[in-house]
């Protein structure tokens, strides 16, 4: 079997559009997941057991089952209960909810890592609960939260490849379809591996850079 890059070059526009869909879904899923995850973590910490326990259960279910099963349930099961989503919105909601469960746990660990003394000191100074969250807890959390959050983002990018299974025209779906049409299977798999690898490496490096910046910022303030 010969490796033929010509096939790939001819199909660059299509591959580009698949890559675009992947990156948009990934970015949107990440932003949605961080936002929802933060809300969940905050609710669980500050709203008592009546909120904490059921939310904790949902988070455990989402973290304990494969993303693929969740997506199948949402996509193929949804219409049976009147929830009919097109592939791309369905994929986006799936990614958001799945990653929110993980992000919420990262934020929870972040909250827990803020020394209670700092919060008490702020209370003594007369800061309101919102002020304490915004001025004390979030900045102190950021440094603890960043490394696992970057790691999760990488996992999320890779999980998005699963969406090819519900016909979302993302990178994996596009490139593997080209591979089958052109009988260029190996070229297709190889190309996929390289593109994801580059994206993941770039994300990792950006994450590390952000960590350094944040650490410097903190020390300079102190």
């Amino acid at each position: 079997m010969m490796f033929d890059p010509q096939v790939i070059i001819e199909k660059l526009p299509e591959i580009g559009s698949g890559l675009f869909v992947t990156i948009i879904l990934w970015a949107a899923g990440m932003i949605g997941g961080v936002a929802l995850g933060f809300v969940v973590a905050t609710l669980r910490r500050f709203c008592g057991p009546a909120v904490n326990l059921p939310l904790g259960f949902v988070v455990e279910v989402l973290r304990g089952t494969p993303f693929l099963i969740q997506i199948f349930l949402l996509y193929y099961g949804g219409p049976f209960v009147g929830l009919m989503l097109d592939p791309t919105p369905c994929g986006l909601i799936g990614l958001t909810v799945y990653s929110a469960a993980y992000y919420s746990e990262i934020f929870r660990a972040g909250f827990a890592a803020v020394p209670p003394g700092h919060v008490e000191a702020a209370e003594c100074l007369g800061l309101t609960r919102m002020q304490i969250i915004r001025r004390i807890q979030i900045p102190e959390m950021a440094l603890i939260v960043l490394p696992p959050a970057v790691n999760l983002s990488v996992i999320l990018l890779k999980e998005s490849a699963v969406l090819s299974i519900i016909t979302v025209p993302e990178l994996t779906a596009t490139v593997s379809a080209i591979g089958s049409q052109q009988y260029a299977f190996l070229e297709a798999i190889f190309l996929l591996a390289v593109i994801y690898w580059v994206l993941v490496e770039a994300t990792d490096r950006l994450g590390r850079l952000a960590e350094h910046r944040l650490a410097r910022l903190r020390f300079s303030k102190a």
Partner: protein, 274 residues
Amino acid sequence: MLKKHLVKAALGAALLISTALSAHADALSKIKEAGVIKVGTETAFAPFDFIDAGEHVGLNVDFFAELGKDLGVKVEWVALPWDGVFPALEAGKFDFVAGPATITKARLERFKMTAPIAEATVAILKKAGDKTITKPEDIAGKAVGAGKATAQLAQLQEYSATLPKKVDAREYVSFNDAYADLAAGRIVAVANSLPNIAFVAKQRNGAFEVVTPAFGKKAYFGFIGKKDADSATLVEYVNAEVLKMKKDGRLGKMQEKWFGTTFDTPDEVNDPAF
């Protein structure tokens, strides 16, 4: 006199050795030696190949069971998503592909295909009672599903180009997923070969309907083998089995069992319509 005998014996021995050597690479002899034929397929292509309440059944299963009996070997199935089946065949993961696959020009260039086992002409499956689709051209501008890496998808895309408004062709990992989405209403039709959609329409009592006439070009299903020299005898054997079972009525019985009808198929397809 003696000399002549010696020469003959030597020639005979040489011939024996050479056949024994070549037999080593020959796919058919290897299968006989191992006592197992490995067949790759996709198990979401009813009624040829599907999982019925956990059991692998269909025309493919019946056919290869008969072939296994004739050849005296066991049949081992490897089930993959359809777009992974041809790469795996080329990678040597199994000896033959059941599928079946539509006999097309592109596939004949790359693989060897057996005599037809059924008709494969592509038509449309719609939701029962959908009055917006009464003839094939009504799918113009609408969302229609088909399996990834299939000839049916290629036919749909080709047909779409002839319509006033292009079809929004959705590619599913398997046709089963496309049927599920048709039932859900995300797509208005599924383009697949007539025998398949006729079966599905009958199975899902009244949920689906076949739209006639077929829009695709006349086509047939066959099994697929590799094109290399080692596989030549195996391809020949499976092809001969198809023709044999067609002649002795076994294939007809299988068609009757799975499709409720028999097909009039040619003994070979050398120049497919697409």
